[in-house]
């Protein structure tokens, strides 16, 4: 018994804290450590799993593993009538539901040739830009949290709450509103919406100023963002990256300007661009977009045209409720739409829009029936995620966390 204890002591004493394979020439240990980050980790902004190869504190390689929230929405969409697909499509990228619905509805409208009334287009723009601010608020709050600035989270979520209240006013839902329909929007904005929206538009720019004051005079934030993990425009284009990440590298590519949809050509706004494409530029571009979105909403609200908010084509849009009591035709249309839905002539369409994260494209193949034969979302997060490895190789692991925050991936959109 006594000898066993002394054996153990001897073994214990023989352990030194020196590195086992220490390279005397460079003084650097060549030990590589493979570290698993996620899928359940607050800094991954969802259920992203990263297998990171570390050498000391330096990242040498990253392999993202995704699919943890794959819900098969594209498959589900094939089982539903066209207009019943909208609610499931909205749940893909859960921070930009209006954009998902817009890409899908736009694609169906291209296939069917349904005209969207001007008022509906403006209402769509108002809600999409509100959604863009809301999405950027979530991004700014959670990113600042990753950088150690805790109070930002509450300030940002206060603004987000105001926007969600507005969404609740116009559609009855705070998230996944199903407000956009094929051919227009579900309902006109209610009384009091405009007043509340104007109030928000008045406060938002000054709030954004305050966010900048809080963050941009903060030494820690600046040190963690400035000059970290830049990637050149050529590499970003090769990787398929679009949106604020591409604009941060100096390329002013924005589908709202280059290929306007939903009356974006009517509004006067600027595209913020960065210069070097580091994390600081990524932050600045998104922050500047807040002001531009406010400008767009103001113009859309001022110039909101009179007229119908959804197409008058009864083959695609439900008739107003009061018509059902008096018109046989309306009753038939209502019945046909609710039971079978509308049929779409055979064809394929790809409809790209500018979501808060980049090009969001919806591909639909119709086979002539009332259900789509294929729905595919080109989600910007899914494509942009490929740039992580290239951005973060040979940087500190702390910069990896900051870059991931500035990448703004939404895992619901990545996995679909």
């Amino acid at each position: 018994m006594a000898s066993e204890v002394s054996d153990y002591r001897k073994q214990e004493e023989s352990i030194t804290l020196e590195r086992l394979d220490h390279d005397p020439a460079t003084g650097i240990s060549s030990d590589l450590l493979t570290l698993n980050i996620g899928p359940h980790h607050p800094a991954t902004h969802g259920v992203l799993r990263l297998i990171v190869t570390l050498e000391g504190e330096i990242v040498r390689d990253i392999k993202p593993v995704i699919g943890y929230v794959h819900t098969g929405i594209e498959k589900t969409a094939e089982q539903k009538a066209y207009w019943k697909v909208i609610p499931v499509i909205e749940r893909m990228d859960y921070l930009s539901y209006y954009f998902n619905a817009m890409a899908y509805c736009g694609s169906v409208e291209t296939l069917t040739g349904v005209e969207v009334p001007k008022r509906a287009q403006y209402l769509r723009v108002i809600h999409m830009e509100l959604n863009r601010i809301m999405s950027h608020m979530v991004w700014l709050g959670t990113s600042a949290l990753d950088l150690g600035a805790m109070s930002m989270f509450w300030y940002c979520f206060r603004e987000r709450e105001t926007i969600l209240d507005l969404f609740e006013m116009s559609s009855g839902q705070r998230m996944h509103t199903r407000y956009f329909q094929v051919g227009g929007v579900m309902e006109d904005i209610p009384l009091g919406f405009e007043k509340k929206l104007r109030q928000f538009l008045k406060t938002m720019p000054s709030r954004a100023d305050k966010f900048a004051d809080l963050l941009e005079n903060n030494e820690i934030v600046l040190q963690r963002l400035r000059g970290t993990c830049p990637l050149s425009e050529e590499r970003l284009l090769d990787l398929g990256v679009t949106g604020p990440l591409l604009r941060a590298a100096g390329n002013p590519w924005d589908l709202r300007k280059t290929a306007p949809y939903s009356s974006y050509e009517d509004f006067d706004f600027k595209i913020p661009v960065g210069t070097v494409g580091d994390n600081y530029d990524r932050y600045r571009v998104r922050h500047a977009e807040l002001y531009e979105s406010v400008k767009i909403i103001e113009q859309a609200l001022d110039g909101l045209p009179e007229g119908p908010y959804i197409t008058e084509d009864r083959k695609y849009a439900l008739p107003p409720r009061h018509e059902l009591a008096t018109s046989m035709e309306a009753l038939i249309h209502h019945f046909k739409l609710v039971t079978e839905g509308f049929r779409v002539a055979e064809g394929e369409a790809y409809y790209p829009i500018e979501s808060p994260r980049g090009e969001l494209g919806c591909f639909i193949r119709s086979d002539g029936s009332s259900k789509p034969a294929r729905v595919h979302m080109r989600d910007p997060s899914f494509v942009n995620l490929q740039a992580t490895a290239e951005m973060c190789t040979d940087t500190y692991i702390a910069d990896l966390i900051a870059t991931l925050a500035m990448l703004d991936p939404v895992l619901g959109g990545i996995d679909r």
Binding site: G67, H70, G240, F382
Partner: protein, 169 residues
């Protein structure tokens, strides 16, 4: 999009460099599409990239079941200078679902190609790391194919957990 004439001109250019590559052209509802043979994917897309369609906006698969050849792969190419989009489609059979990869033309084709492989079983020859991306790695079948049943998988509840293989042991 190029207009109908422009599309034919591009198709003509492709025919000049690869005579048997173009199978069909389609200009429909604002969408310009060229269907090519699976063997000619690399030369044709390489040529279009040289020609100005430098950005691969999207790469996705689809299933034309019950038509043959069943599986389709679509490349949505974008010319950022003229803001012009063109779609290149190729169709392969389920028995021989191989298409050459374009990862060396665009590194960004990596995830989309893996997704098409995962969902439809199209094999991209030359892809550096062709694994499943969204489904679990031990999953069998390609769920986005049209003949893959929805709800075909048993869901584990307390009443059937004993009979589910691989669950309790």
């Amino acid at each position: 999009m190029p207009d109908a004439t422009g599309l034919e001109l591009i198709a003509g250019e492709i025919r000049d460099s690869a005579p048997d590559a173009v199978l069909a052209t389609k200009h429909d509802r604002g969408r310009a599409e060229i269907e090519i043979t699976p063997e000619s994917v690399r030369p044709v897309i390489g040529m279009l990239k040289e020609r100005g369609y430098t950005f691969l906006a999207s790469l996705h698969g689809l299933d034309y079941w019950p038509d043959e050849p069943r599986l389709g792969v679509i490349y949505e190419l974008l010319d950022m200078k003229t803001v012009d989009r063109i779609s290149i489609k190729t169709r392969v059979t389920v028995e021989n679902p191989t298409v050459a990869t374009v990862v060396d033309l665009w590194s960004g084709a990596d995830h989309p190609e893996r997704e098409v492989f995962d969902m439809f079983g199209v094999v991209f020859e030359g892809h550096p790391d062709l694994r499943r991306i969204l489904m679990p790695e031990d999953y069998e079948g390609h769920p986005q194919r049209r003949d893959f049943p929805i709800g075909g998988e048993e869901v584990i509840f307390t009443y059937n957990e004993k009979t589910m293989p691989g669950w309790t042991e």
